[in-house]
Symmetry: C2
Subunit: 347 residues, 2 copies
């Protein structure tokens, strides 16, 4: 039991050597106590713990990570944290990662492939344990480089080409089909589609589902591609509604849907009387707007949690082959598409 003055002021800047001195043991013993190794005498253990408390000691995780060759950090790369869809995913992923004692590094790429590239490089330097990514640019060579280094990658929401990556993806083709089929069943024939960017799978597949369903019904698809943003949705809707024969409108994500609704309101089109409306995604406001909006919902939380599980299965060596999880969307019919409420009008 040393009667030393503190070898270091108790301001938390103490190092493991200070704790060792203070407790009268070796740094190895301190380390063992701190890491919960069993082989430490209870007397030593107690003195170490007391010294830690008195010095307000916190181990330096940089040093530990360097030594252990593991940073216990998962990075999540999304294209827009302000998109409630991703906010929800990030939240669920953070929870799941935190429960496993890891940290979640957030990277927002802003749908900018340059920013994504920079981030992927940084993540490689950072020696993160794994990466969950909704790629802005799925062709980024940085993705392959990460995998080259043995850093497991999970494509979330949007697929990437590299077969070594795991993936958790919604069935976007089906989402586009379901939305379209629903409006056709309501008797609409002139249905237009506000699509996401062709550079993303979510953009392409949802559009493909729409076009496919239209063509099978011998109807001409009509769509405009836009970025997944509010203003772009408003603009795209304006373009599509120029043709006043349009009686059904599908919007490929929640932000664009907000913009499209603004356009419909600004132009005085009644929903669903003039235009029936369906959106993909189900933000909390679907039933706050007037009328409540028919939506195609995705189990985002479950998907995010699954992505984390896939990652940790790899990290824990439980699996070496890559896996791809596909999730179904669900159609939730609300007033915005209820043509049947107005049986007088038929195409």
């Amino acid at each position: 039991m040393s009667e030393n003055v503190f070898s270091q002021a108790p301001d938390g800047r103490a190092h493991i050597t200070d704790v060792a001195t203070h407790a009268g043991v070796s740094v190895a013993t301190v380390s063992r106590v701190l890491n919960g190794r069993p082989s430490v005498g209870s007397a030593s253990r107690e003195r170490v713990l007391r010294a830690v408390a008195e010095l307000n000691y916190r181990p330096n995780r940089l040093a530990r990570s360097l030594r252990r060759q593991s940073a216990e950090t998962v990075a999540m790369v999304v294209s827009d944290i302000e998109n409630p869809h991703f906010a929800e995913a990030v939240r669920a992923a953070e929870d799941a990662v935190y429960q496993r004692g890891y940290r979640l590094l957030l990277c927002n790429t802003d749908e900018d492939s340059g920013k994504q590239q920079t981030y992927l490089d940084v993540l490689a330097e950072e020696r993160v344990s794994g990466v969950i990514i909704a790629p802005s640019d799925p062709t980024d060579p940085g993705l392959g480089r990460l995998l080259d280094r043995g850093i497991p990658l999970v494509a979330f929401d949007r697929a990437i080409a590299d077969v070594r990556a795991d993936a958790v993806i919604g069935d976007n083709l089906d989402a586009g089909r379901a939305a379209t089929a629903h409006l056709l069943e309501q008797g609409h024939t002139n249905v237009a589609f506000v699509s996401g960017p062709a550079s993303t799978v979510t953009g392409r597949d949802r559009l493909a589902g729409y076009e496919d369903t239209m063509r099978r019904a011998n109807l001409a698809p009509r769509s405009v591609c836009a970025a997944f943003r509010i203003e772009d949705g408003a603009r795209a809707a304006r373009a599509l509604l120029d043709d006043h024969s349009t009686t059904g409108l599908i919007v490929a994500n929640n932000l664009m849907a907000a913009g499209a609704l603004r356009t419909l309101r600004a132009e005085g089109r009644k929903i669903p009387e003039d235009v029936a409306f369906v959106m993909i995604d189900e933000p909390f406001w679907v039933d706050l707007v007037e009328p409540p909006v028919t939506s195609i919902a995705q189990p985002i939380r479950v998907m995010a949690t699954s992505a984390v599980r896939l990652l940790f299965d790899r990290l824990n060596g439980l699996r070496t082959d890559s896996q791809r999880l596909s999730f179904q969307f669900e159609l939730h019919v609300r007033e915005s598409s209820q043509r049947s409420l107005f049986p007088g009008k038929t195409g």
Copy 2:
């Protein structure tokens, strides 16, 4: 120019020593080139750069951070990343931090003081450069411990007691006053208030502003405290609307406002005819709902950017005294509170 076989496979697992060998220089020279130090001959520089490219070398940032005693990481701790208010702040902060070459570590505390405490400890271990925090628990001793270690702290959105911390706060008292004054001006006398939790400044101050304004007008304040969540807002609104004499309702944040709107709709109360409605916060959906909602808006992006600036001023040694920035809210009147549109009814 060495004709060596790669000292290490070009799979990105190369170390600085491999690069040095490959380029035929010392590790010191490699390090200098990588860190942009001027004192390197152009021949050496070129060979190093080529070796880096050929080996797909990426420096290990853990080692660098350990050596430099700086992780170049800023942590942002928020209570709910799904709250669009914080999502917007996180996004702006991430941008500002990224521009300075730092990373943003996201910590979601879920309004759970235990989780916040754990996170603050982890951040101390992590040796993060600084912390921006909207505290779930402003009395957390971990806050003081961080400051003890010399880690700069910026209280964002919600103040903390420690005078060593910087702060970027909205004038919440004024927000509560402005919302209330607006409804009183519209002729309402029976105005109720859905408040946030008393444990947060945003909860307390907005409520205090409301109560103050009511009392000055010799009116009896009536409020219910709730968590900043959708369901809690719905429940609180139900309780307050039980008293059918209520003609004005103010809700203290955007999530609770969504819940309150749901309640109003469920109970068939017309806005603003039966109940005039004002919310604090201005999410993008304020003008999508019917009718558009009068809101008290805050310049969140500017606030988040300012928080980052305060942090870096400290990190760059430009300032040692603590600073507190206060931001004003703005009242944006929309239909939900337009009593004047219905001049026939007067309280």
